[in-house]
Amino acid sequence: MRKVMPVLLGALCLLAGPARADVVEASSTTMLLAGQQTRGGAPGQTPSLATVVPAYEILTLSARDIGNPVADHLEVVLSTWGSYDFSDLRWDNGTGSKLTGDVTTGYVKGELFKRHLVLQVGREYVALGSARMVQIDGGSAVLVLPYGFAVSGYAGSPVSQRFQSRGATVSWNPEGGDLAYGGRVSWTLPISGGPGRGLELGASTAVVKDGKDFAREDVGVDLRLQPVAQVVLTGFGVWSLAEKNRLAEATVLVTWTPQRKLHLTADFQQVAPDLFLPRTSILSVFSDTERTAIGGGVSYDVNRALTLVLDGHVDLQPTSKDLSGTYTGYDLTARAAWHARGSSAGAEVGLLDASENGYFSARLYGRRDFGPAFLAADVLAHFFRESINAEKQAFTGVLTGGYELGGGWAAVLAGRAGVTVFMERQYELLAKLVYNQTYSVREVR
């Protein structure tokens, strides 16, 4: 981090002088929340309540198509925020201080050699291959080679909250290490007949090290096949080298859009949750169970306004009752969504059945625009199969109103009330002032 950030800063300062960005997007959100959170408590006693009133300033800047003598396309992105807790510390403050903040993303990205080389430096995500969306302070590169080949690589330090230590036990980062690196090679075979048709094969590796020990040491393969425009098949598998090639994750997903209104999916997933723990965790030596989910979904546009969605899976999971048993659970979601000019509404029900508990959920929502103003409502209910904290139901409702002030400014006021398994009555208020604006320099091509 200490090495990467000066590079990022230097690049930003250099760009501020001679560079000219075609498009600059600026977003500012000033937000004040007020609510109560439970604290502490012992069996049979009522937990105490903490009043939390955090104020946030969230700033996002994106400058792209920056004129420069080197890269075909140069982009700078920064998203950062600061907050102050006016009352008690909120639980996800992440530090012991009332004043805190973080950098969510911050990177410089350049495309060179007619966009055959993409370089990115800063606080970024790596999504390709088996990287598992690792967030790093570091750099990445994608090199597009002839004959459909491409090579990508990344290296950096996994990000932790508020710049606290990386691999230590205080880090919120799931990686559990202080150095991450990896890469992917791929080959694409385009098929004529329309954009997207073709085959793509990839092989990747992802490594996370905590000192000298491997927190993660994975290899993966991925596949995308689109034989015809309407059908896409994706497959992915990742194995842990640290565990003698145990399969950590495998997915197969097929989507089929036989007609514009109808979309079908079928998917299979197998995961070993223990392999999502760092190999440096003491808990990584206790379990090697697997979970399998198989199912699919369908969505149908009844007309231009109404869409119906059904999605379900059978989940095979180990039971917590004995060491060798399997529990057959399921998840099911059905939704109706309606959109018309200036109005949206929807209803959603869901069922989740897991070995120790499950729930039925229902949700109603709607939004109506009144010129520059809008009103939105969202009601969510959960009915649990087994009691949680001696309660079996939770209800939450959110009412939101907003007004477009003009010039990219908008004001939003929201109130949330709930009866939950941990709070007999819960109220929260949110007020925010938002500024979103896009600035353009060159509009003529």
Partner: protein, 344 residues
């Protein structure tokens, strides 16, 4: 390090100081009835002659010059209507060379312009991408996510994604599968701040459903009172939680709620009061095998973990069957995690 955001903003201010906000495109009605002229085989070049030399799309140039009545309109028009051609108010979203393309379609504009604007119409129909791909086989560019230079700025203009990346109702579940192979394609329209809104559990200011309560139609994760149901979700799909959240994230809240093990007997105990951990094992063994991720929410403190107390070498063997075959004996005394119980 804490000065980084301020310095970065100051640096970017150098870019923004010379520019002005982009005006929202005005909805200006079209003034010319194209359809009757097409039906009467009036050549497009009668009015749009200069387009044949246009090598780029230029918002400042309309390429319209109405001919004199006696020239080409007199066969139908006794009196020439007065037309004021409105200026274009928005930039083009594509780069295109009409001069190069018109000869290839023998000057027939209708090959690409399948629909033309009519009088009083606000919307300007543009040729669909399918007319481009009818001649240009863009599979390689598509695979390599090289949308430019044809598309000027996908992030600003946001065209409807094509079939592979069409954001259908199951997008929340399926987008990850596509991103593993095609993250560069995602980047054509989205910068990583967009991804971070959901994926940056460690560094984001607040989860998306808190930040955007007005977005009731969006598939925002952890909507509503997620605290009430998170323990059910972690039973159903523990790996999903671990993609974004590390153990200390869970522990930081569990400690505040007295759920985490701090060694005090007055702590709120999430486990059954009897039979959970017994000298012969008890219920915790099967529970840990079934969902070790749930255990990690409170017990992932390395050598200080409560598990070590009983399972230290010489105590009950905690490893699953087959564990020894996957690890060499030398690891016992070389890997830090093994040394915790087996010693150096």
């Amino acid at each position: 390090m804490n000065r980084l955001p301020l310095l970065a903003v100051a640096a970017l201010a150098g870019c923004s100081a010379r520019i002005a906000p982009k005006a929202a495109p005005e909805q200006v009605a079209h003034v010319f009835p194209h359809q009757p002229h097409l039906e009467n085989d009036v050549a497009c070049s009668n009015c749009h002659a200069s387009i044949e030399q246009a090598t780029r799309l230029d918002a400042a140039e309309r390429h319209v010059a109405l001919p004199a009545k006696s020239d080409k309109c007199g066969d139908c028009h006794e009196t020439m209507p007065t037309l004021a051609i409105p200026a274009r108010t928005s930039p083009f979203e594509l780069s295109f060379d009409h001069a190069a393309h018109l000869p290839r379609v023998n000057g027939d504009c209708k090959v690409c312009h399948l629909e033309l604007p009519e009088k009083d119409q606000l919307h300007t129909p543009v040729p669909p991408m399918s007319v481009c791909t009818a001649c240009h086989v863009h599979q390689q560019e598509f695979a390599e996510a090289r949308c430019t230079p044809c598309h000027v700025d996908l992030r600003s203009h946001g065209p409807k994604p094509l079939s592979t990346f069409a954001h259908r109702e199951d997008w929340l579940r399926t987008h990850g599968e596509l991103a593993r192979a095609s993250a560069q394609s995602c980047a054509a329209c989205h910068d990583q701040t967009y991804c971070a809104n959901c994926h940056s559990a460690a560094t984001v200011a607040a989860r998306p459903s808190v930040r955007w309560p007005e977005q009731v139609t969006a598939d925002l994760i952890h909507r509503g009172d997620y605290v009430s149901r998170h323990m059910v979700d972690v039973q159903a799909d523990p790996a999903s939680c671990r993609r974004c959240h590390g153990s200390p994230f869970c522990q930081s809240c569990h400690e505040l709620q007295n759920v985490a093990p701090t060694g005090s007997l007055s702590d709120r105990d999430p486990h059954p009061t009897s039979g959970w951990a017994t000298p012969s094992g008890g219920e915790h063994a099967a529970a840990a095998r079934a969902n070790i991720v749930a255990c990690a929410g409170c017990h992932d403190q390395g050598a200080a973990a409560t598990c070590v107390t009983c399972h230290r070498s010489g105590g009950a063997n905690p490893h699953p069957p087959g564990f020894a075959s996957r690890h060499s004996a030398s690891e016992q005394h070389s890997k830090k995690v093994c040394i915790v119980c087996h010693g150096p």
